[in-house]
C-alpha cells in the first residue's frame, strides 16, 4: 500500500486577545491509498480546520502535509465536499457537476458525458438541467458529491457532508455513499460528529481531542463489506460504536466545560 496522505506535526494557531489559541496541535496522520478514514471529535475540536488545511484552503502554522500525486499528473490532488454544499446557484446541476472538468479544460462533449454519468449514479438523471434552487437539500448535497467524484481527485475530502440533512435523507445518502465508495475505492477523509455514520462508512475512525485539537486514538473498523444500513443492526457495529463513544465521552464533557 502506498501512503496517500501524510500529515506531520500539523499545527494551526490563531491569535486572540488572550494570546495564541491552537485550533489544531501536533496532528499526525497517515492514510494509505484506497482507505476510507473518518475523523470524529467534539464540536469545535478543529476537525474541519484540519480538513481545510488538507484541502489547501488554509495554510498550517507549522508542520507539513503531503498528498502523493498519482500516475496521471493532470488529476487534481484533492476535492472537497462542503458541509454547506457550495454548489453554484447560477449553474445547472449538469454545469455544477462538470465544473472541475471545465476548469481543467476538458472538452465540452467529454465533460458532459462524464458529468451525466455521475449525475445518473447519484440518482439525479431527471434533474440535470435544474438549477439548485429548484431541488431539495439532499439533492444539492448529491450534486456536490457528484461534482467532486466527476473531477476524479486523488483524495476526496468530505466536511460533514450530511450534517445539514434530516435523519431519513441522511440514511439514504449514507447507503448511496457506501455503494459508490465500494465501486470506486477512492481515498477519503470524512469529517463527521456522528459515530454511527463514521463506523458504517469507514475503514478507520480517528478520534480527536478538543482544545487543542489533536490525535487521541484510532479504531480499525473490520466489519466486512459490502455494508448497508442492515450493518447498523449487528452486534459488532453496536460494540464498536459504544467503544468509540466511551473513548469520546470524556472529550465531549471537557469540550462542553471549556465552552461554559
Amino acid at each position: 500500500m502506498t501512503k496517500k496522505i501524510v500529515a506531520e506535526n500539523v499545527c494551526k494557531m490563531f491569535t486572540s486577545t488572550n494570546g495564541p489559541i491552537y485550533a489544531v496541535k501536533d496532528f499526525n496522520l497517515t492514510v494509505d491509498e484506497g482507505r476510507f478514514v473518518s475523523i470524529v471529535g467534539p464540536s469545535g475540536c478543529g476537525k474541519s480546520t484540519f480538513l481545510r488545511m488538507l484541502a489547501g484552503l488554509i495554510r498550517p502554522s507549522s508542520g507539513k502535509i503531503v498528498i502523493t500525486p498519482g500516475a496521471d499528473p493532470h488529476k487534481p490532488l484533492n476535492n472537497v465536499v462542503f458541509q454547506e454544499y457550495a454548489i453554484f446557484p447560477w449553474k445547472t446541476v449538469l454545469d455544477n457537476v462538470a465544473f472541475g472538468l471545465q476548469m481543467r479544460g476538458v472538452p465540452l462533449k467529454e465533460r458532459k458525458a462524464i458529468a451525466l454519468d455521475w449525475i445518473e449514479r447519484v440518482g439525479l438523471a431527471k434533474f440535470a438541467n435544474y438549477y439548485p434552487h429548484q431541488i431539495s437539500g439532499g439533492m444539492k448535497q448529491r450534486v456536490s458529491i457528484a461534482r467532486a467524484l466527476a473531477n476524479d481527485p486523488e483524495v476526496l475530502l468530505m466536511d460533514e457532508p450530511l450534517g445539514a440533512l434530516d435523519a431519513q435523507t441522511r440514511n439514504i445518502l449514507q447507503e448511496q455513499l457506501l455503494k459508490i465508495w465500494e465501486e470506486t475505492r477512492k481515498t477519503v477523509i470524512y469529517i463527521t460528529h456522528s459515530i454511527e455514520e463514521a463506523v458504517l462508512l469507514s475503514d478507520q475512525v480517528i478520534l480527536m481531542t478538543a482544545h487543542p485539537g489533536t490525535y487521541k486514538t484510532s479504531f480499525d473498523i473490520t466489519i466486512p463489506r459490502p455494508r448497508d444500513l442492515k450493518t447498523t443492526g449487528t452486534p459488532e457495529f453496536a460494540a464498536l460504536s459504544y467503544a468509540i463513544w466511551e473513548s469520546l465521552r470524556s472529550e465531549v464533557v471537557a469540550a462542553m466545560e471549556a465552552q461554559s
Partner: protein, 348 residues
C-alpha cells in the same frame, strides 16, 4: 352560516354609510367648503369596505378579488377626479380631468409644433414619403424633431456610458481591498452630491454648452456612481464558500472571475442598474427643464410656459410610461443574463 350573514350585514352597513355620506355631502353642497375632509372620509369608508368585503370572498377567489381591487380602485380614483372637476369642485386649470389629459396626449402625439419645430414621436407616418423625396437625411431630420427620441437617446447613451465603467471599477474595488480603501471615501462623498449640481460644470467642460454632451455626461456620471457602489458591494459580498469551492476545483483567476465572482455579484449589480435607470430618468427631466429645446422634460415645462395644463399632465404621463417601459426592458435583460433567477421569487 350565521357568521357569514353577519359579515354580509356589516358590508351592507358600510356601503350604506358610504352612500349616505355622499348624499349628505352633495345635498348640502359640502364638497366646496370641505373638499379634503370629503376625500378623506370617502377613502376611509372605501378601505373598510374593501377589507370587510374580502371576508365574503371564498379563499380560492381571493386572488381574483385582489386583482379586481388593484384595477378598480385606480379606475374609481380617475372617475372621481373626472367627476369632481366636471362638478366644478376642482379647478380644471390646475387639475384637468383625465379625459382631457388623454385627448391632449393624443393631440401632441399626432401634431407637429411649428413654433418649436418638434413633434412627440417624430411623425413616423411621414417616413415613407420623406424617404422617397429626401432619402435617409430626411428620415434623420424626422428623428431629430422627436421629443421622445431626444429623451430616450440621452437616457440610453448616458446610462450605457456610465454603467459599463461603473461595473468595471466596481469589480476592481470589490476584489481589491487596497483599491477600495483608496477610493471609498471619495466615492461616498461624491455619491451624496445631487448630480444635477454638476450640470453647470459640464456646460463649461464641453465645447458646446447647449449641445448633447453636457446632458449625457451628467446622466452618465449619476449612473456611474450608483452602479460602481452596487457592483462593489455585490462583488465583495459573494459568499466566501463559493470562492473556496472555485479555488478547490482549480479555477484560475480569469475562470474565478467569469464563473464565480461575476455571476455571484449579478443580482446586486442589477439592483444598482435599476437604481441608476431611475436616477437617469429624474436627471434627464431636470436637465431638460433647465436647458433643452427638445425632450419630454422640455415638453412638460413648455406647456407650463404657454399655460396648457392638460398637455403638461400629458408630459408627466409620458415620463411615467418611459419609466415603466425602460424598467421592463431592464428586467427582460436581467432574466436573459440570469436564467437561474427566473421564477425564483414566486418559488420562495
Amino acid at each position: 352560516m350565521k357568521n357569514k350573514l353577519n359579515c354580509t350585514q356589516q358590508v351592507l352597513a358600510w356601503a350604506g354609510g358610504l352612500i349616505v355620506f355622499n348624499v349628505i355631502y352633495l345635498a348640502f353642497r359640502l364638497w366646496f367648503a370641505y373638499f379634503l375632509i370629503g376625500v378623506l372620509v370617502n377613502f376611509i369608508l372605501i378601505v373598510i369596505l374593501a377589507d370587510q368585503g374580502a371576508k365574503l370572498v371564498p379563499t380560492h377567489r381571493r386572488h381574483t378579488y385582489e386583482r379586481a381591487l388593484a384595477v378598480l380602485f385606480p379606475v374609481l380614483l380617475l372617475l372621481g377626479w373626472e367627476a369632481t372637476v366636471n362638478a366644478g369642485i376642482l379647478n380644471p386649470r390646475w387639475f384637468p380631468p383625465p379625459s382631457k389629459i388623454l385627448s391632449a396626449l393624443w393631440d401632441i402625439t399626432i401634431s407637429y409644433d411649428k413654433f418649436n419645430k418638434t413633434s412627440l414621436l417624430g411623425r413616423p407616418w411621414l417616413i415613407p414619403e420623406v424617404y422617397a423625396n429626401k432619402g435617409f437625411e430626411g428620415v434623420k431630420a424626422l428623428f431629430e424633431e422627436s421629443h421622445l427620441w431626444a429623451t430616450l437617446y440621452r437616457v440610453f447613451v448616458g446610462f450605457i456610458i456610465g454603467s459599463v465603467p461603473g461595473i468595471l471599477l466596481g469589480v476592481v474595488m470589490g476584489m481589491s481591498r487596497a483599491v477600495r480603501a483608496m477610493l471609498d471615501s471619495i466615492l461616498s462623498a461624491v455619491y451624496v452630491l445631487p448630480k444635477i449640481a454638476i450640470f453647470p460644470i459640464m456646460m463649461l467642460v464641453f465645447a458646446d454648452p447647449f449641445g448633447e454632451g453636457p446632458k449625457i455626461a451628467v446622466i452618465a456620471i449619476s449612473a456611474f456612481f450608483l452602479v460602481t457602489i452596487n457592483t462593489m458591494a455585490g462583488v465583495a459580498g459573494v459568499d466566501p464558500v463559493y470562492l473556496e469551492a472555485g479555488r478547490n476545483y482549480g479555477a484560475n483567476p480569469w475562470q474565478m472571475f467569469r464563473h464565480v465572482i461575476i455571476p455571484g455579484a449579478l443580482p446586486v449589480i442589477f439592483s444598482g442598474l435599476r437604481l441608476a435607470l431611475g436616477t437617469a430618468l429624474i436627471v434627464v427631466v431636470a436637465i431638460e427643464f433647465v436647458r433643452a429645446r427638445k425632450g419630454i422634460g422640455f415638453l412638460t415645462l413648455y406647456y407650463w410656459e404657454v399655460m396648457v395644463p392638460e398637455k403638461m399632465y400629458a408630459g408627466l404621463v409620458l415620463v411615467m410610461l418611459l419609466g415603466v417601459i425602460l424598467t421592463a426592458g431592464l428586467q427582460w435583460f436581467e432574466s436573459l443574463v440570469m436564467p437561474w433567477q427566473r421564477g425564483r421569487s414566486t418559488n420562495n
